[in-house]
Amino acid sequence: MSPPQAPAYQLSDGPGQSATLSLSGDWAQGQEPVDFRDLRPELVALAPRQLLVDGDALGRWDSLLMAFLLQCHNYCRAEGIELDVSPLPESARQLLRVATTVPPHERPREPRPGLLQRLNPLRAARGALRDIAESMAFLGDLGIALLNLCRGRSNTRFTDFRHFCYQSGPDAFAIISLTSVLVGMILAYLGAVQLKLFGAEIYVANLVVIGMLREMGVLMTAVVMAGRTGAAYAAQLGTMQTNEEIDAITTMGVSPMEFLVVPRVLALVITLPLLTIYADLLGVLGGAIVAGGMGITLLQYVSQIEQAISMTHLLVGLSKSVVFAVLIAIAGCRSGIQSGRGSAAVGNAATEAVVTALIYLIVADAAINILFQHLEI
C-alpha cells in the first residue's frame, strides 16, 4: 500500500467549451477532505458546456468521493452542463448511477408563521377556542358511545373494562396510601398551630375530617391518578395510533370510542370514588397520629369526628371524584387518540394528558366549590 496522499482536484480548460476535472489522491476517510463549495466558483467562472471527470490519479476512495461527485452531478444538472464520468472506476460510476436514478426531491415550502403572528392574542384565542371545541366534540362522541352502551348496542368489551379497573384501582393502593396519610398529617399540623392559639386543639379532628372528605382526599387522589392512569391511557392509545392499530379498529367497523375510550372512562369512574373513600379513611388516620402527638387521646379524637362527620361531606367528595374521573380519562384518551405517530409524539401526548388533566382538575374543583357555596351545601 502506498502512503496516503491528500485528495485534490484540478480544473482545466479543454477544447471548445469543455473542461476537465482531474481527481487525484486518496478520497477516503482520514484525509483532509475537499469541499465542493471551493470548486463551485471555479466552475462558474469557466462556465463549460461539458465536464469530463478524470480519475487516472485517483487512489483509495469511499463515500467522501461519492458525496463530492453527487454534488458535481447536481450542480451540472441544474446548470445544464453535460457531465462525463466515464474515466472513473467502474464501481464509482455504478454507484453514481444508482444515486442519481431518482432526481432529488424538493420539499414544498410551508409558510411558517412569523413571530408577531404567533404572539397575536387573537390567534392564541382562536387556538384555545378550537381546543375547547374539539374537547366538546370528543365529549359528545363519548356521550353517544355511552348511550349505545346503555342500549346494549356497543362494542365495548367487559374484559377490557375489568382489566382497566384492576390497573387503575388495586395497583394504585400503595401510592394512594402514602399520599393520603401524609396529607392528613399535613392538614392536622397546619390546623394544630393555629388552633393552639385559642386552646381549641380538639377541633383538629373537625378540620381533618372536613378537609379530607370535601377537598383534599379527592383532589390528591385525582392528581395522583392523572399522573398515573391519565398518562398511561395517553401512552397506550398513542402507541396504538403509531402502530396503526387505531386505523385497524376503525376499518373493522368498530368505533375506537366504544372499543378503547369507554372501558377506560368507566373503569376510572368506578375506581376513583372507591380510592377516594380509601384515601379519606387513611387521611383521618394520619390526622389521628398527629393529634395523638399533641396529647389528644384516640377516644377524644373519634368522638369529635363523630360530631363533625356528615353524609353531606362524604357525598360532596364523591360527586367531585366522579367528575374528576371523567375529566382525567377524557384528557388521557383524547391526547392519546389525537397523538401523532412516533415515539416523540407519544411522549408529547402523555405530557399533554397530564397537563390538561391537572388544569381541568383545578378549574373544575374551583367551579364546584363556588357552586356548592352558593347552594349552601
Partner: protein, 258 residues
C-alpha cells in the same frame, strides 16, 4: 464466489425462546463477498437467526464466529468494535421516529467518524440519494411511506460503509422497480466496498438475481435442510420442500406471498 474464506461461521447453533426451541443444529459458513440469503416459511426463525448473528439474542448452544474470532464468547467491548463494521436494517425499520431521515443517517457518522458538519451533510445527501431519497433529509419517518422508511433504514445501515450488511426483508413492501433498484444497490455496495451481505428475504427475483449462497430453515423439522446456491437448490435439491419453495412460487406470482 469471490473467495472461499469463511467470513461468518455458524457452528452448531441452537436457538430457543425459553424452553421453546425454534431451530437447532445450524451449521453454515458465509464467505467474504457473498450475498447470503436466509430463506424459509413465515415463522420458521429467520429473523431470530439474524438476531443471533447480531448478538441481540444469545444462542442456547453453539457459537458464531466472525473471521475465526468467536463473537458469542467475546466481551462487550470486542462486540461493539465488531459491530461498528456492520450495517443493519430491521424487519420493522428501526428508524428513530423522533429524528428526521437526515438526522437518522447522520447519527452513526457523528458517532463514529471525524467528519466535519459540512461533510456529514454531504455524505448524508449522498447516502439518501443512493436509496432514491435525495432531498428528503428534513422529513420525519412518520411523514414518508412504509417503503420509503425501509429505504431510509437501508441508507442509515450503509452510512459507515460497513463490511457486513444484515438486512431483514429489505425489499418487502417495495414496488418491483424500487425493489430491483435496491437489489442493484446491494450488489453495487457489495462490489465497491467488498462487503458481505446477509439478508432475509422472500423475494424470489432477488434470491435468484443476486444471492450467491443461501440456507433454508425448515419449521417442521426445526433445522436447516438445505444450503447452497439458490439456483442450484431450485433444480437439484434433494428436499422437495426447498424445490417447491423456490420453484412453485417462481412460477406463480412472487409478490403475492411476500
Amino acid at each position: 464466489m469471490a473467495s472461499s474464506e469463511a467470513h461468518i461461521s455458524v457452528r452448531g447453533v441452537t436457538m430457543a425462546y425459553g424452553a421453546r426451541v425454534i431451530q437447532q443444529g445450524l451449521n453454515f459458513d458465509v464467505n467474504r463477498g457473498d450475498i447470503f440469503v436466509i430463506m424459509g416459511g413465515s415463522g420458521c426463525g429467520k429473523s431470530t437467526l439474524l438476531k443471533h448473528m447480531l448478538g441481540l439474542i444469545e444462542p442456547a448452544a453453539g457459537e458464531i464466529l466472525y473471521d475465526g474470532q468467536s463473537f458469542t464468547r467475546a466481551d462487550t467491548a470486542t462486540r461493539d468494535a465488531m459491530r461498528r463494521r456492520w450495517g443493519i436494517t430491521y424487519q420493522s425499520g428501526g428508524l428513530f421516529s423522533a429524528m428526521t431521515l437526515g438526522e437518522n443517517v447522520s447519527l452513526p457518522l457523528q458517532l463514529y467518524t471525524d467528519y466535519s458538519r459540512a461533510e456529514v451533510t454531504e455524505v448524508v445527501a449522498y447516502k439518501l440519494a443512493l436509496v432514491g431519497l435525495g432531498g428528503y433529509e428534513s422529513y420525519y419517518p412518520s411523514e414518508v411511506s412504509g417503503g420509503m422508511r425501509k429505504r431510509a433504514a437501508l441508507s442509515r445501515a450503509i452510512a459507515l460503509d460497513p463490511q457486513i450488511l444484515f438486512f431483514d426483508e429489505p425489499s418487502a413492501g417495495l414496488d418491483p422497480i424500487s425493489s430491483r433498484l435496491l437489489d442493484e444497490l446491494i450488489v453495487q455496495i457489495k462490489e465497491s466496498m467488498g462487503a458481505t451481505v446477509v439478508m432475509v428475504t422472500h423475494e424470489l427475483p432477488s434470491i435468484f438475481g443476486i444471492a450467491t449462497n443461501s440456507v433454508y430453515l425448515d419449521a417442521a423439522s426445526k433445522t436447516m435442510i438445505a444450503c447452497g446456491d439458490p439456483r442450484q437448490l431450485r433444480d437439484h435439491s434433494d428436499q422437495p420442500v426447498v424445490r417447491q419453495f423456490l420453484a412453485r412460487e417462481a412460477a406463480a406470482e412472487p409478490e403475492a406471498e411476500a
